[in-house]
Amino acid sequence: MKPAPFRYCAPETVDEALELLATGDPEDEVKLLAGGQSLVPAMNFRLARPGLLIDLNRIAELASIATRDDAEGSILRLGAMVRQSAAEHSPDVARLAPLMGEALPSVAHTQIRNRGTVGGSLAHADPAAELPAVMLALDARMHLRSVRGERAVDAGDFFLGLFETALEPDEMLTAIEIDAASAVEGSCFEEVSRRRGDYALAGAAARVRLDADGTCRFARLTFLSVADLPVRALEAEQMLLGERPHDELLRAVAEHAARREIDPGSDIHASSAFRRHLAAGLARRTLATAVSRATAAHGATDHGGASS
């Protein structure tokens, strides 16, 4: 379990890294090293054999969490190299993207989150990972750069398949932007794994906004570990809009999502049927919690007690 030989460089700026990425390696694959929590084991198993490893850990400009306000509201900007543990403990993340804050403790173990990065997880695009499904639910925008320039890609267009993203070979994910959650929104993340910290057998993220009378005006429901990529249950979301969610509706919505909108595979830990069963339960529970949190948030703002 030792890696095959590789060349290694550790640039200190994004431009330098992009230059290296553009030049590449004439013969072999080039890999960007972020937190290394997936890549390094893959290299040790010799499943990944990059000829050139570009270590991003010395690029300070990628490691910050920032917020800014525009006409629509606040925006949270996470550098791609922000450690998962830094995001987990960031007050800005907790305030502006509580769904992400709630999901992060489910990402593996503390030691792994101390090294693992937000951008690394997203660029790796493991369908069993938490952050891709969360970004999908948050309508996050991925900022990609190359020597050719910069572009932003919506999370919904970023994840293309198993370990497959919209990133071109010379492109690097540099930042993730998330619009602040509305004050009257409720969200919830939950997953089922064999052991604490394992890849989830299935997981779900939900966001709900309600009118003053409890009518649903906005819904997001996404899943992890139930297909080749993170899945957004668009039909289920539609079923909620304009309705006042109650237990029976949530159950029906969850069942619909689990039966029609996901395509879970079977492996040695869970069959496809079991994953659908889990997904239905998770969808129902996360939606119910999101609804009750949204209701509570409403109560708080109605009485002028919105805490911020």
């Binding site: 030792k2 052991r195 040695i268 079991f274």
Partner: protein, 794 residues
């Protein structure tokens, strides 16, 4: 007052070294200029080796040797049969053992076919990629029933079938029991056990000192003395030229009792290349290169009277021995003998068939087949109770062996080749205590109905088990009082975390009146002590512990004899306390033991002819038969029908291993065993596909239980001292792991009762959320992969 250390929860003396990272493990041995070995392993479970091209690898920089079976000379031979079959009438046994590197045919994935020696492990693995092994894949078989079919792929072509062994043991008249029975229940029960996954993998390091003609080998073995013998014999050295050191070892659990080809190859390479050589097994290869346990399929019947009394048990089972069977029949014999448990079973007829499969080798792992036997009898009792309308604890109560029945001669040959004989115990007391501690009656009568009414699936279960421990042949120890007053103890067994440095020190300290902290123990170094067999079968405390006791007793006698002369007082008036010997109650007469040791070893002058120097003694202990420990585990657990996870709410252990040397160490043994038992029951599974490729060959998929998966364990100890040894101890190393599978099956079944279709029973281990889901949703769609998987596991 002489202080008694036995029975005290003395903190472990070795822990400071371990916790500060100062303990030496094999990979810590610093060897200047060492070369590193990487093995080339078969990617196929079965195939014919057409050719192995090592030339490209051999030319790579930093590579010192690339070898195949052809290059090994006399090492190219099948390894030894480590445990011959026991003397049972009519036994059939075909010994097939692996060679250090496979020649012509590979018989399981990961079997070593070549090796690379290089300046570093990195270079060795780079060169490994350049060794071109051309293997013609052949059909492989792993399913036990399929492997016995006429047209099954044969693991060993020279045998007529994949039958490796067949053994029948019986006593009483099963046919008569069956005729007389009011109820005969019949079950097909499958118990699968996994990889021991020690924290430290295996490893071997060796140095050949050309000038001293001395070979030193550091080895993660549980049996350093037999390993020394085997290395010396194979390499043509005198035993005194070979020193094997088993230093601190990060868990043994059984597979490190084996003798592997790499333990021979590494010292041989060190001699041949004239350089220190090291091989440290990595986690990936340990799933193949270290032995494991796996499945048995039992077809078992139990005949009972209406009142729940057992009249007899008949069992026919298949045992997966893997591609070879170097450790003989220990595992299935343990299953066969342990099945009888704490119960009075008048008629027993048991026959097992060991089956060669294209999978890694099966040898004992903590519990060593006892789990399988316990699972069978406990499941049969649970189901018999249900059919007869008797409470599950009550049916056990009615069948327990009564304390006045000891010694109980079972009429079966055990793994130590003697008649299985339970020496002592009080099984009803174990059961009643466990039932009381878990609150069985109240839970059944009050709590469970309330929980069910609230829609919660909470079950309770109680199982019992015995463990034959502390078997022979023997171990020895040497105890010496040094001039400093400190006590040096040496014993031959290896130690892998059991706390021997503390518990044996307590045993010696009791006899010599010193503090255990002044007792320094050396284990597992053949230069320090070279008689003994090893650490296995929960025998360290019983056999080596009693050897330490006997040697300490002899040194005590020498101390008293000499002090009596020096103090001119009768021996019976002397006491040993606080590191001195003195006339009882007269501290002014005290002679420090160190000073007495010097007087016993005069450097000038004359001694009486026949005098032995020093305060030293070597003693041996060899029990006539093993001791039988026993216990009862009880659990309350909840099943969440939505996540299909099982959450233990309470876990109670009542255990009897005779005299307790150190309660805290014993507790640790229980916790570790139960954790591994929980892994076996609910998390760990060696899953093979149709090609016999391991699907769960990393810790991402082979799920060891973690701290959050193991509940708080409430343990209680009863002590019925064994009459078979002076300390009265019985082994405890494996006990925790043995009944957990049976307990999980029972508690989950109880939690789900009322939710399952009539007749649905839990008949196999391991369970998993997927299996709980299938129990609750028997009609749900099944995918092809899962069908294949299930066909395999059942």
């Amino acid at each position: 007052m002489e202080t008694r250390w036995i029975g005290r929860s003395l903190p472990r003396l070795e822990d400071e070294r371990l916790l500060r990272g100062r303990a030496q493990f094999v990979d810590d041995v610093a060897l200047h200029g060492a070369l590193h070995v990487a093995f080339v392993r078969s990617p196929f479970a079965h195939g014919r080796i057409r050719s192995i091209d090592t030339s490209a690898a051999a030319r790579m920089p930093g590579v010192h040797a690339v070898l195949t079976a052809e290059d090994l000379g006399r090492l190219d031979a099948p390894g030894p049969v480590l445990v011959p079959p026991p003397p049972i009438d009519g036994i059939e046994f075909h010994a097939r053992t692996p060679a250090p590197l496979a020649r012509e045919v590979v018989r399981h994935v990961g079997e070593a076919v070549a090796l690379v020696v290089a300046d570093s492990r990195y270079l060795a693995e780079d060169a490994r990629d350049e060794v071109f092994v051309d293997i013609e894949p052949m059909p492989a078989v792993g399913d036990l029933e399929a492997a016995l079919a006429e047209d099954a792929p044969r693991v060993h072509q020279d045998l007529p079938s994949n039958l490796a062994a067949r053994t029948r043991q019986s006593r009483g008249d099963w046919e008569e029991a069956r005729r007389a029975a009011d109820l005969v229940i019949e079950r097909r029960l499958v118990y699968d056990h996994g990889a021991s996954a020690p924290m430290e993998n295996r490893g071997v390091a060796a140095v050949w000192d050309e000038r001293a003609e001395q070979l030193t080998v550091w080895d993660t073995t549980q049996a350093p003395i037999p390993v020394r013998g085997a290395i010396a014999a194979t390499l043509g050295l005198s035993e005194s030229q070979v020193r094997v050191i088993a230093p601190f070892i990060g868990g043994g659990f059984g597979p490190k009792i084996m003798f592997y080809g790499d333990e021979l190859l590494v010292p041989w390479l060190a001699m041949r290349l004239g350089r220190p050589v090291k091989w440290i097994e990595d986690r990936e290869e340990s799933f193949f290169s270290t032995t494991q346990e796996r499945s048995q399929i039992h077809h078992a019947e139990m005949a009972l009277r209406r009142d729940g009394r057992i009249l007899g048990v008949r069992d026919r089972f298949l045992h997966d021995t893997g591609a070879y069977d170097p450790y003989g029949l220990t595992v299935p014999i343990n299953s066969q003998c342990t099945l009888l448990g704490c119960y009075d079973v008048p008629a027993y007829d048991s026959e097992f068939t060991c089956v060669f499969t294209h999978r890694p080798i099966v040898t004992p792992y903590r519990g060593a087949g006892r789990q399988h036997g316990v699972f069978v009898i406990e499941r049969l009792l649970d189901h018999a109770a249900d059919e007869l309308g008797i409470d599950r604890v009550e049916i056990r109560r009615r069948n327990l062996l009564h304390p006045d029945r000891f010694p109980v001669r079972q009429g079966l040959i055990y793994q130590d080749f003697t008649e299985l004989t339970y020496d002592s115990g009080d099984y009803p007391a174990l059961l009643e205590r466990a039932a009381e501690e878990i609150g069985y009656e109240r839970f059944r009568a009050e709590e469970q109905p309330e929980l069910r009414a609230a829609g919660r699936l909470v079950g309770i279960a109680l199982v019992t088990y015995v463990e034959g421990t502390g078997i022979g042949p023997y171990e020895g120890a040497r105890v010496r009082v040094e001039a400093s007053g400190r006590v040096a103890v040496a014993t031959g067994v290896g130690t892998q975390g059991q706390g021997h440095f503390t518990s044996f020190a307590q045993v010696v300290a009791d006899q010599l009146g010193v503090h255990p902290g002044d007792v320094r123990l050396v284990t597992g170094d053949t230069q320090e002590f070279h008689w003994g067999t090893g650490t296995f079968a929960s025998r360290g405390a019983v056999v080596a512990g009693n050897a330490c006791h006997a040697a300490a007793l002899e040194v005590r006698r020498k101390i008293l004899r000499l002090a009596s002369q020096e103090l001119e007082a009768p021996e019976e008036d002397l006491e040993l306390t606080g590191g001195v010997v003195q006339v009882r109650g007269a501290p002014q007469s005290a002679i420090p033991l160190g000073e007495l040791a010097q007087r016993a070893n005069p450097l000038r002058g004359a001694v009486e002819p026949g005098t032995e120097p020093g305060l030293e003694a070597t003693s041996y202990f060899g029990p006539a038969t093993g001791t039988t420990a026993a216990g009862a585990h009880a659990m309350i657990a909840e099943v969440d029908p939505e996540t299909c996870k099982v959450t233990p709410l309470r876990y109670v252990v009542v255990h009897d291993c005779g005299t307790v040397l150190n309660p805290m160490i014993l507790e640790g043994q229980m916790h570790g065993g139960i954790a591994q038992g929980i892994g076996n029951a609910f998390f760990e599974e060696l899953v093979f596909d149709d090609q016999q490729q391991l699907q769960s060959g990393s810790f991402m998929d082979y799920l060891l239980p973690t701290a959050t998966d193991v509940p708080a364990i409430e343990s209680h100890h009863l002590e019925t001292p064994s009459p078979l040894n002076p300390l009265g101890v019985k082994g405890a190393g494996e006990a925790g792991a043995i009944p957990v599978g049976a307990l999980y099956a029972a508690v989950v079944e109880d939690a789900l009762s009322g939710r399952l279709e009539p007749g649905t029973r839990i008949d196999s281990i391991p369970l998993s959320p997927e299996r709980v889901y299938r129990l609750l949703h028997p009609d749900s769609e099944h995918t092809a992969e899962n069908e294949g998987h299930e066909g395999d596991a059942r």
